[in-house]
């Protein structure tokens, strides 16, 4: 990757201070997104994927967290030191965000059109009618039939899929170079999921925007992302081109995750469940965070954290002591 990345998260460690300690939510997370690239971040609940996105946008409650190391640079802006004015300029125009719940993501008492016009005019010095034209154009681009009528609707009058399309239209309102989508289709049915993701993908390709797609669904990553980061318990355990990571996974966790799904075995036969649960992130974990559930774990795994970003193949990296010893 030669061009400067639109988002570069480097060695980010972040914790939530709790009474008498802290929850170590992220440790040494490095994620890089090049212009126009669709990058998936995948992991189960508690892996830190949403916190990463919220931290990148500086949307976490300011006093509730602490960054202990690392840097976040978004479109050349250092996000950890940016002031309110810088953030406002960046959010919505340079970077946009799409959230999980389309039901609650839109102001319930504001008409779709009014909200879109407000967001457009917050970043562009144009008049009301021009902003309306632009908003209608955006809705058209989301294949929303009868955009004029939808502009006058309230969110509750629309279906979940329709709302999420509007949220996407809103995200592209000010020509962002990066869109962060946090589980955008988790609340939707699969048939609607396909509509929404196809539209998101097409629009991002059209305008050359990069997408950070956060999801727990490996299938979604496989179909829509160019490259992928697999996270577990606040760490990136494996990353690389989507096909390489999902067809030749190298990290034991990635492998286990791929094998745990019902697709992996014959009907009615036992599934390869991952035993145990997440480690308690309030404690300092000296070794690999996956060691407690890993079939390959040895003493070194429990004693020291594996080095970050070992190269397995060009662009394919992982963090595991047993990277060499693993059979394909």
């Amino acid at each position: 990757m030669t061009a400067s990345p639109v988002l570069s998260i480097r060695n980010l460690s972040l914790e939530f201070p709790l009474w008498g300690g802290a929850l170590h939510a992220l440790e040494d997370v490095t994620i890089e997104i090049a212009a126009g690239e669709i990058v998936g971040v995948v992991g189960e609940s508690g892996c830190g994927k949403s916190v990463t996105a919220m931290a990148a946008m500086r949307l976490l409650p300011e006093r509730a967290y602490r960054v202990t190391q690392g840097a976040i640079v978004m479109l050349g802006q250092d996000m950890l030191t940016a002031g309110e004015a810088d953030l406002r300029a960046l959010r919505g125009s340079g970077v946009a965000m799409i959230f999980q719940e389309p039901l609650t993501a839109l102001n319930p008492t504001r008409r779709i059109g009014d909200l879109m016009v407000e967001v457009i005019r917050a970043h562009q010095p144009i008049g009301r009618s021009e902003a309306r034209e632009k908003a209608i154009g955006l809705l058209d681009s989301m294949r929303i039939a009868d955009a004029q009528a939808v502009m006058r609707r309230y969110p509750f009058e629309l279906s979940g899929g329709m709302r999420q399309r509007i949220v996407i239209a809103l995200a592209f309102a000010n020509d962002p170079r990066l869109v962060i989508a946090d589980e955008p289709t988790t609340a939707l049915d699969v048939t609607v999921q396909r509509q929404v993701l196809t539209l998101l993908q097409a629009r991002a390709r059209d305008v050359g925007a990069a997408v950070l797609l956060i999801t727990h669904d490996l299938g979604v990553v496989s179909e829509y992302a160019d490259s992928v980061y697999v996270m577990y318990a606040g760490k990136v355990v494996e990353s690389g081109p989507t096909d390489a990571v999902l067809t030749t996974p190298r990290h034991p966790y990635t492998r286990a995750l791929l094998q745990a799904g019902p697709e992996a075995v014959a009907p009615k036969s036992p599934l390869a469940a991952i035993p145990g649960g997440l480690p308690d992130l309030r404690e300092i974990i000296p070794g690999c965070r996956y060691a407690g559930r890993c079939g390959l774990a040895t003493d070194i795994c429990r004693g020291a954290a594996p080095p970050q970003s070992q190269a397995a193949a060009p662009g394919h990296t992982l963090s595991c002591w047993h990277a060499e010893g693993m059979s394909r």
Binding site: W19, A25, V51, R282
Partner: protein
């Protein structure tokens, strides 16, 4: 991760943590301290001092506050400080009684109403709407006027008038709890409405009811005092805060302490309950969770 955080934060009662959170909320601490003072002054002091609040001393009429009479004396020389202490037993006792009765009656009615739904619910709620439709104190006044002025009648009237608040509150909470998976499961397993009410509904709607009741104690103290002030509650010469403020009214421009101190007692006690209720609400507020 957000889910993990909120799971961490939604643990049950962790006393050390709770103490920490109460400590972090000055409002709650203030409320607790003030209530402690009230309990000491009204609950213990009258017994320790052992003075009769109705002793008349015509030589010390309308004396200004001094070391021998902390709050001064009234027009027949009774010590206002002693009368305020004794009056508190009446005012606070009555308020606690009213709140306890209306809260428990209201919670049971509201819980059943929400749980049973249908015609029963409609009938109960319409009845409550009628009671609520009359501004509470207007009804109290009308009832007190019709029943004749006395503290007992005022207490009955206020208790009746407070019931719909609790019915509405607990019904609303019940409608939420009713949709919870554990109630649905209990119904599948054949639980009867009263069993559901006892096992699941009441324990889960208790905290908002407790908050409301705490806030209400302050409000009811004011209501009782207000009724006594316009002559519909406690009758002179009973030592009751509202009646005392009322009695001092004719002397207000020259002997301000006569009305001022009983009123101050009302204010102080009511603030104590209000701060405490406010604090409990914040501590049990789901919005607080995950922010510790």
């Amino acid at each position: 991760m957000m889910a993990a955080l909120s799971r961490l934060a939604s643990r049950g009662i962790d006393w050390r943590r709770l103490r920490h959170r109460i400590g972090a909320s000055p409002v709650t601490v203030t409320g607790l301290v003030m209530l402690g003072i009230v309990v000491f002054c009204v609950g213990l002091l009258p017994n320790l001092l052992a003075q009769d609040p109705n002793v008349i001393n015509l030589r010390a009429r309308l004396a200004a506050p001094s070391w021998s009479h902390l709050f001064g004396t009234d027009e027949v020389g009774r010590d206002i400080f002693i009368r305020v202490l004794h009056g508190g037993q009446v005012s606070i006792g009555v308020a606690l009684f009213v709140v306890a009765v209306s809260a428990s009656v209201g919670t049971v009615i509201g819980g059943l109403s929400g749980l049973l739904g249908g015609m029963v619910d409609t009938a109960i709620m319409r009845l409550m709407d009628v009671v609520l439709a009359v501004p509470s104190l207007v009804l109290t006044m009308a009832l007190a006027a019709a029943l004749g002025p006395s503290l007992t009648n005022a207490v009955i009237a206020i208790a009746v008038v407070r019931v719909p608040t609790y019915v509405r509150l607990s019904r609303g909470q019940t409608l939420v709890v009713r949709e919870a998976g554990y109630v649905m499961a209990a119904r599948v397993f054949g639980a009867r409405p009263l069993q559901i009410l006892r096992l699941h509904v009441v324990p889960n709607i208790l905290s908002p009811v407790v908050v409301q009741a705490t806030l209400d104690v302050g409000a009811v103290i004011l209501m009782v005092a207000g009724l006594s002030f316009i002559g519909l509650g406690a009758q002179p010469p009973a030592a009751e805060w509202g009646a005392m403020v009322s009695a001092g009214r004719s002397f207000i421009l020259d002997q301000w302490w006569y009305s001022a101190f009983p009123g101050l007692a009302i204010l102080f006690t009511s603030i104590a309950f209000n701060l405490l209720g406010d604090g409990i609400r914040d501590l049990t507020d789901p919005r607080q969770k995950g922010r510790s």
